[in-house]
Point group: C2
Chain length 327, copies 2
């Protein structure tokens, strides 16, 4: 494990799936065991064949356990698809790709949830068994469903994202729940103890915003004296992965780190943007934020480590946050 | 498909796992589609990681679908064990072998049961999807748990059978349930319409008896005018498979087809016994039963077909049952 001088820093990172998981992995390598808490979106969670699927939690967990498929970024490396083939033989539509090893996660999590344990406890149990040294914290214990409005009507997130391959123009995002999602004590503590807070390069609308919408979350972030920085998921006018750019466009935002910075105004102290977008730095500074320009596309393990180091140095440079207006 | 002259016969077969499934398979091949109903023990059912496992139903279903592992007799041919490996990685004891394809069955069945469908409906759905031409009927819709008394105390059936490899001397069998198991309309109809009723070469104590204990089952069998025959699972003083012989011994029964016949006295009209036990036929006739002596060990597909033909011919020879005392 790479040990940096900064390894006593405690970091709370807000993350969705693949991009967030990769930066979290870089941060984990740079920090002492237990010093990283990843607060993960669960608005994409859904039920399939009675199993509770948590795509972002699993992507983060598999990545931090060193088990993620390195090419696709989600799922487990060297997984197979025998169960899914049999499910198809039973006449069920295998539209969501669940690998055989991956299924163990869903089966055991569903069992724990059905026995009355929280998603926070279940995630902690599974991640500990895989030897993950960081805290993987679901954004809340309540069930939240991110809904995507499109010209064809309102869609469940996975319906939009996987089944329809995020091809629909998105006209709005909303959240459904029966119990108001509340910040958990574990997330509250992670934010309180953090020396730096990082919004990972995840989709601002369907990965980061669901986390921010959890009751108590924005207030806890505003209370923190730690620097809060966001890494832009938009690089050179496109998303590194997924539909973030299309969503920004269809929702009327500028498809650039400036557009991302505007979304996070009042919340973050600094933006990390890619070198290809370096010319945009002054426009972001005009929004009252500091800017770090570096390589943000993590092609490999070294890329994750380099970005993590840059993010941590940026946070140290920013130092304790100035007074922040409560969002 | 082999078509015999007898193919308009309707048969109701009572079965446990591998041995019962193999005879049922032979009968299915000999009969018109839909003419065979297999009434299956569900006293071995149990929950594992939140999934509802029905070992005997699955063995019968996979066998009648032509998908069973031909060597071990249970599970699916060419199945793999990736999920189980991951379950073990999560620190859970993988004591019960669930294959990846097999898991699809448990996942979908559990989903249907949790949605409020009966085990009879769920089994019908799954078996139809696999193209099984026979009716696979769980013995009841209530949950029943076969318990095995041993010197080490009372054990769950799978604890005794799989985890402890049926090594404990069995001193008693009992059944636990919260709702009294009732004969289902589907089982009632299958028995009523049957032109012959067959007790497959399954364990008399833990496969056939749980079926007979279901409320209404013995009365329905007694009401039937069809010949009722049993195929002895004991051949040459040993069980073809499983702990039947050990159980007979430890429960104080003669370990022979005569001992089996005594268990079924008052219920069956005829016993099918193996040629190696031919000398015992007079002792069984003394119990008031007819006897058919033939090869009963089904080594291959031809063996199943031959035994099925012998059983069907025996039933025809017996003809409509004489008056029977209600058990």
């Amino acid at each position: 494990m790479l040990t940096l001088a900064s390894d006593t820093l405690r970091i709370a990172a807000l993350a969705g799936g693949v991009g967030g998981a990769r930066l979290a992995d870089g941060l984990q390598e740079a920090l002492e065991a237990g010093a990283l808490s990843v607060i993960v979106n669960t608005g994409d969670d859904f039920k399939l064949w009675g199993l509770h699927i948590s795509p972002d939690l699993d992507t983060v967990m598999y990545t931090l356990a060193g088990l993620a498929d390195p090419v696709q970024g989600w799922g487990l490396e060297r997984d197979t698809w025998m169960t899914l083939e049999m499910v198809e033989r039973y006449g069920r539509d295998p539209w969501f790709r669940l690998g055989d090893m991956d299924l163990a996660t869903h089966i055991l999590r569903t069992q724990m949830l059905n026995e009355g344990r929280s998603i926070t406890e279940a995630t902690g149990d599974l991640a500990a068994a895989l030897g993950v040294p960081s805290h993987i914290l679901p954004m809340c214990n309540e069930e939240v469903q991110t809904k995507v409005s499109t010209p064809d009507g309102m869609l469940d997130f996975q319906e939009y994202f996987v089944r329809r391959r995020h091809a629909d123009p998105v006209t709005g995002i909303s959240y459904q729940y029966s119990l108001v999602p509340q910040m958990t004590p574990q997330v509250g503590l992670a934010i309180e103890e953090a020396g730096a807070i990082v919004l990972c390069p995840s989709n601002p609308f369907v990965s980061i915003d669901p986390i921010l919408q959890v009751e108590g979350m924005r207030a806890a972030l505003a209370r923190s004296s730690a620097p809060i920085v966001a890494v832009s998921p938009i690089v050179g006018g496109a998303a590194v992965k997924g539909p973030a750019a299309d969503m920004m466009r269809s929702l009327g935002h500028e498809v650039s780190p400036v557009g991302v910075a505007r979304l996070y105004r009042g919340l973050v102290d600094g933006m990390v943007i890619d070198t290809v977008d370096g010319a945009l730095a002054p426009r972001i500074r005009d929004l009252g934020m500091e800017v770090e320009v570096t390589r943000t596309v993590m092609k490999d393990r070294a890329g994750r480590q380099a970005l993590a180091a840059d993010v941590m140095n940026f946070c140290r440079r920013l130092g304790p946050a100035k007074e922040r207006a409560q969002a």
